[in-house]
Symmetry: C2
Subunit: 211 residues, 2 copies
Amino acid sequence: MDQELIKKIPHKTIQRLSQYRRALLLCFEQGKTHIFSHEIANIQHITAVQVRRDLMLIGYSGNLRKGYNIKDLIDLIGEIIDSPNGQKVAIFGMGNFGRAIAKYFTGRRSKLTIVAGFDVSPEKVGKQVAGVPCYSVEEAQQIILEEGIRIGIITVPGDQAVETARMMVEAGVKGILNFSPTPVEVPENVFLEEYDMVTSLEKVAFYVKEH
Amino acid sequence: MDQELIKKIPHKTIQRLSQYRRALLLCFEQGKTHIFSHEIANIQHITAVQVRRDLMLIGYSGNLRKGYNIKDLIDLIGEIIDSPNGQKVAIFGMGNFGRAIAKYFTGRRSKLTIVAGFDVSPEKVGKQVAGVPCYSVEEAQQIILEEGIRIGIITVPGDQAVETARMMVEAGVKGILNFSPTPVEVPENVFLEEYDMVTSLEKVAFYVKEH
DNA sequence: CATAATTTGTTATTTTATTAACAGGGCAAA
DNA sequence: TTTGCCCTGTTAATAAAATAACAAATTATG
Ligand SMILES: NC(=O)c1ccc[n+]([C@@H]2O[C@H](COP(=O)([O-])OP(=O)(O)OC[C@H]3O[C@@H](n4cnc5c(N)ncnc54)[C@H](O)[C@@H]3O)[C@@H](O)[C@H]2O)c1
Ligand SMILES: NC(=O)c1ccc[n+]([C@@H]2O[C@H](COP(=O)([O-])OP(=O)(O)OC[C@H]3O[C@@H](n4cnc5c(N)ncnc54)[C@H](O)[C@@H]3O)[C@@H](O)[C@H]2O)c1
């Protein structure tokens, strides 16, 4: 696919492609070879039109009678969202959440590998969590460079997030997923995604509230 | 505020209100009494217009010279998104992630309290995590009813999520925050929020990829 | 062979969300 | 007092996302 076009894919479509792929992988494991847009839509919470539109944007054509070839589609989504040689990820803050993430990601075959954790606590530095070595923050710059880590996950306490992000960017990280409740600033050439769990829960609470 | 109007507030605004409040609480603790829209905007990643628009929607008026009264605004946001007597929350699946959430939420004063965890593993049932008792899933229906739990967080493995959600709804849960990668179905009167961490990370990876 | 039934691919429309524009108010300083 | 500045609140314009609508293609079937 043309690189120019890839950049024009809406953010929401990128997210859905990731989700389509996971659903497709499940179908593929079950021995299915083809799938219709409305079947994909049923698995996710969306409409068949949305699915077709997304696939149109990535230039994938299905078979009019059999639908989409699952294997081909998985591969095409992979070509778009994965990097050929994978990407390395580091976790900043190996507390309860950071460790849960490390355990969760390790072992599952994926183009994304968590290769390092960083923490300030002497109890954690030097240990391994699910095979992920934990280093001190002082070593971060060096390890990030050596390993070629381009993505960082922030799971430090909120009051440490801004400084941590600054340091990550300085060390060469190109993408940050910030799970702390404190928004951080990054330069334009760094991609930032933030998710605040408390906000999500408060949102649910609001819509559940007896007005 | 009028209940009819409250229901018309956009989802995104509700999320931002939650975030404004947290930022405001920090400012309040630092002794500030008033704040301008552009100051709030700077803390979050948004524009001052967005802030003013959101506050307009909830009918809050600031002082032309001093900006918004922090204390009043915190209280108003609380009136809108909190329930007066708080709401009870349960976690389904007390694994690594579920336990991290339990530890994280406990102790912080908030209108949301995690009062129970549920799991199938005999090792976990009967124990406590950060003061949150873990029950077997068989007990769920009864405990949810007794405690008046209206909100549930799903942190069971993906292949258990659909069945878990079904059971939660049957037991009377009115809002679900699903962290498993598997989308679940809920009836119309139940509010559903889903967050998929892998998708977030894949999104970051995509925008960081060297095209 | 014609027809009905499906499903894709794409354009048009609608809805939702964000940003821009600006009137009006209040205070400070000239 | 008057001028200028910097706010808020609100309407208007723009952009992004989702949905609807439908032509074209393919196959099964009478
Ligand atoms: N645990 C959850 O379920 C959860 C949910 C939502 C958000 N979060 C957020 O994730 C973050 C971590 O939460 P947690 O529950 O794991 O807390 P935690 O206290 O268990 O872990 C924080 C870790 O960060 C380390 N740390 C502190 N300062 C650091 C620094 N400057 N550099 C590197 N490491 C540092 C600490 O030593 C500790 O190991 C917080 O910002 C929290 O708000 C956690
Ligand atoms: N750990 C993470 O950082 C992380 C990140 C993103 C998403 N998730 C998702 O959260 C979920 C849990 O992840 P985890 O890492 O905590 O896994 P985990 O295996 O540590 O925990 C899962 C827990 O659920 C329990 N369980 C299994 N079936 C159950 C059922 N039917 N009812 C109640 N409990 C049941 C298990 O006994 C276990 O305690 C998974 O769906 C995972 O995809 C986890």
